[in-house]
Structure formats: structure tokens, C-alpha cells
């Protein structure tokens, strides 16, 4: 079977997700200006320990091999280690993303003793100024401290996870060196205009020239750098980057949010992309296999405005979430379309129609780009 046939199969959906993101809480001690889930305050409806374990048991039965845990800051939950251990005992690998605040020397030892565990430390600048402008004052030092604790505990190759902004594209080589110096693996992902990121995307997203820079850098270094397949819209520049080269939303990817709602992907926390809830009859499996939304996402997509563009096979029209939250039609070009089709469309998009995320758990403080608060 050829690669394109595999792609067709994947677009038709799998019996269970390959890449399931589960945000355990909306609570977070930071207030990053690009947070996908507008996190800050805990939601009183969040799944309790028993409910979380029940969902893990469902995922075990579906043979979901591993899950990506995030938040909010997942380690803020008092039952965090209990959840990790339950996953481990049920052969569910866990990769969790953290800002590092709760990785103490003691916790690092405990994490190092567990199997099937990967850790991603978030860091959005290779120096204090660049990082803290996005993630808040002191957050750079916090990430470095966590990395030191993991190294000292012999955790092994953890990951440094970077969201690419126009302020850190020039730091790619430096990020790689930083990761190498810890024996860590670098992971870079695309900035999405989701959550609070919708408010800051205009100021933060890489310029057209920087998109080319990211692409060239990934072509040169991509084999040793993780991307979560998030840059497939750049494939229109030429040779395809490593990865599946498709939008996996509802096909191979989904999100479970802290209150148990199931969304098509981590970047579209909006009612229009909510497939159901783990509380529904039949649980997660029923939502994955039968929700109207997921079934429709597995239908062949319309190429819409991109039909006449020779690059469609390379870029697949880009990211659904990026289009949605910038007010572009879902069957049109990506806002960061490499030939500029999205950019010119954005200039004419009626701003009042841009959808807002359905939920906002931001703490009640003002957030400004530049981050002096």
C-alpha cells in the first residue's frame, strides 16, 4: 500500500485515536499570553480522581498506547502522581507538558523512577527576556531549574517544547544547543490563534520570511527535532517535512478537556468542534466512533478556494483551527499559507465574524503583549 493510500485510510479515521491530548485542569500558576486553553482558574466541574481513572480504563480497553497530558498546569493537581501511576499500571504511556514549577528535586526522582513517561518542559525563548515576555516573569528560571532537577535525577532524555513566535525563530540553533547540552530532545510547534493565542496571534506569529526560515531549518535538522507534525502547511515550500502531512482532527487526534468534553483537536476548544463528553452514554469510545462531528471530519474534505492551487497536495489546506480562529473559511487557505493566499484574505476578512473560544478560565488580570504584568 502506498503512502497516499495510508493517508486516505487515516483520513477515514481510526478505531481509536493515536494522538490523544488530555488537559487535566484549567488551573495554572502562569498566564502565558498564547495559552491554547485560556487557562488560569480551575473549573469546578473538572473530572475527579475516580472519573479520571475510569476514562483511563476506557482508553486502555481501546488500546490507546499513549496520551499527551497537559492543562493548565497538570502537576498542580494533587492526584497527579496517582493518575500517572494508574496510567502506567494500565500500559498507557504518558507524555506530559509542564511549565516546570512543580518539578522539585524530590518530584524529579519520583518521575525518573516511572516507566513509559515522557516530559515536555515548555520554554518559549532561549533567554529570560524572550521567554518571560510570553510566559511571565520568572518562568525562564523556573524551566531551567526543572531541567536541572530532571538531569540530576537521571530522568533521561526529556523534551524542551517551544512554540515558534516571531521573537524566537532566530533562536532555533540556540534552542538545539540548549537541548543537546541537557541530552534533551527539542520539540517545536506552531503558534495557533487558539485560546488567549487568538488575541496575541497577530503580534506573535512568525512572518512570511520566518516561515521559510522554520521550513529550511526543519529540512536541515528535522530528523532530530519533534514537531507534533504541526508544520505541514509549510510543505508547499517544497520537499515534505517528516510526518503524516494531514490534519488529524477527529481522525487520529482529539482532545479531552478538564471537564470531560471531547473536542476534535487541542486547538479548537469551541462548541462548533465539540463532539461530546466522556460522561455520555457509551463513554469516550462512543463519542470517538459515532459523533456526527467526527464522522463528518472523516469525510473527504472540500478543497474549496484552494482547488486551483497546485500546492494543495503538499499543504492539505493547512490547519483547521488556525483558519477558524482567524475568521477564514475552513475550505480556504491557511492564514499562514506560504504563497500568501491566507494573508491577503485576512486583510479583507470582516473582523466582527471572528469566533471567540467558548470557554475562558483566564485569571482576572490584564494580559498585555510584552508581559510587564
Amino acid at each position: 500500500m502506498s503512502v497516499s493510500n495510508l493517508s486516505t485510510q487515516l483520513k477515514g479515521g481510526l478505531d481509536a485515536p493515536i494522538c490523544l491530548t488530555w488537559e487535566l485542569t484549567y488551573a495554572c500558576n502562569l498566564q502565558c499570553i498564547h495559552c491554547l486553553s485560556s487557562s488560569g482558574r480551575r473549573d469546578p466541574r473538572e473530572l475527579d480522581t475516580d472519573q479520571v481513572k475510569n476514562v483511563l480504563d476506557q482508553l486502555r480497553d481501546l488500546q490507546v498506547f499513549y496520551i499527551n497530558i497537559g492543562g493548565g498546569e497538570p502537576m498542580i493537581r494533587k492526584d497527579f502522581f496517582e493518575i500517572l501511576e494508574h496510567a502506567e499500571h494500565n500500559n498507557i504511556g504518558v507524555k506530559f507538558s509542564t511549565n516546570g514549577t512543580y518539578i522539585t528535586a524530590e518530584n524529579a526522582q519520583r518521575l525518573a523512577s516511572m516507566n513509559y513517561l515522557d516530559i515536555q518542559i515548555s520554554m518559549d525563548g532561549v533567554d529570560r527576556a524572550t521567554n518571560d515576555a510570553v510566559r511571565g516573569e520568572g518562568s525562564f528560571d523556573t524551566s531551567i531549574a526543572a531541567m536541572n532537577f530532571l538531569r540530576d535525577a537521571n530522568f533521561g532524555p526529556f523534551k524542551i517544547s517551544v512554540v515558534m513566535t516571531r521573537h524566537n525563530v532566530d533562536q532555533l540553533d540556540a534552542f538545539k544547543q540548549l537541548a543537546d547540552s541537557y541530552g534533551a530532545q527539542l520539540r517545536i510547534t506552531r503558534l495557533r490563534p487558539a485560546g488567549r493565542g487568538a488575541d496575541t496571534w497577530n503580534e506573535l506569529h512568525p512572518t512570511q520570511a520566518q516561515q521559510r526560515q522554520i521550513y529550511d531549518w526543519l529540512i536541515a535538522h528535522g530528523d532530530n527535532v519533534l514537531t507534533g507534525d504541526s508544520f505541514f502547511h509549510l510543505n508547499a515550500f517544497g520537499e515534505s517535512l517528516p510526518g503524516l502531512n494531514l490534519c488529524g482532527a477527529g481522525r487520529v487526534v482529539c482532545l479531552i478537556d478538564p471537564i470531560g468534553d471531547v473536542y476534535a483537536c487541542p486547538f479548537v476548544i469551541h462548541d462548533q468542534f465539540k463532539a461530546g463528553s466522556v460522561h455520555d452514554e457509551g463513554g469516550f469510545a462512543h463519542v470517538w466512533r459515532n459523533s456526527d462531528l467526527f464522522l463528518s471530519l472523516r469525510e473527504p474534505e472540500s478543497e474549496g478556494a484552494c482547488t486551483s492551487c497546485g500546492n494543495y497536495d503538499s499543504c492539505q489546506g493547512g490547519c483547521m483551527a488556525a483558519k477558524f480562529f482567524t475568521g477564514l473559511p475552513l475550505d480556504g487557505p491557511d492564514p499562514e499559507c506560504v504563497i500568501g493566499a491566507g494573508e491577503s484574505l485576512l486583510k479583507s476578512a470582516p473582523v466582527t465574524l471572528i469566533p471567540k473560544p467558548s470557554m475562558d478560565h483566564s485569571r482576572k488580570v490584564s494580559v498585555t503583549v510584552g508581559g510587564n504584568k
Partner: protein, 89 residues
């Protein structure tokens, strides 16, 4: 070591197979490799290969036509390189 028709093979103990419409997914919990197995008959052979003395015996048991045996040898060799299967000692 590569796989031959005489090899005695088995799934790596850290590997799980999940059935899918196109065949199966294989996941290695140690090296975190995820492999798409796109031929249902390869999946059937993998699930059963540990029960036979050699790969050839497995292929006979699954009625795989001899002209396809070479493609199974190369498929299993590549899976051995990814540690999805291993040769029994």
C-alpha cells in the same frame, strides 16, 4: 541480525498490536516507535510467528503463496530493525 525464512521470530515483548481497518498499529513502549502495518496478512503472520519454529513454517500455516515469501522476509527484516519483532535466541 536480519530475518530469513529460517529465522525463529517473535513480537518484541514491549510491543502491542492494535487492529485497525487497514491492518494494525504496532507500538513499542520502549523506543516509542509507532508503525503502521498496512497488510492484514502481515499482521496475521506477526501475531502467530512466535508459535512456529521458523518464518517459513508460519507462512505455510497461513497459506501465503511462495512467490510472496520474499516480500515477507523484507517486511519482517524492517520490523526487526525497528525492534517491533526480534529473533528468538
Amino acid at each position: 541480525m536480519t530475518v530469513t525464512l529460517d529465522s525463529a521470530c517473535e513480537l518484541h515483548p514491549q510491543v502491542a498490536l492494535r487492529p485497525e481497518p487497514f491492518g494494525a498499529l504496532a507500538y513499542h513502549y520502549g523506543n516509542r516507535k509507532l508503525v503502521f502495518l498496512k497488510h492484514p496478512d502481515v499482521v496475521a503472520v506477526l501475531r502467530d510467528v512466535a508459535a512456529h519454529d521458523t518464518l517459513a513454517d508460519t507462512l505455510v500455516a497461513h497459506h501465503v503463496a511462495p512467490e510472496r515469501w520474499n516480500s515477507f522476509v523484507s517486511a519482517l527484516s524492517s520490523l526487526e530493525a525497528s525492534e517491533i519483532i526480534r529473533v528468538r535466541q
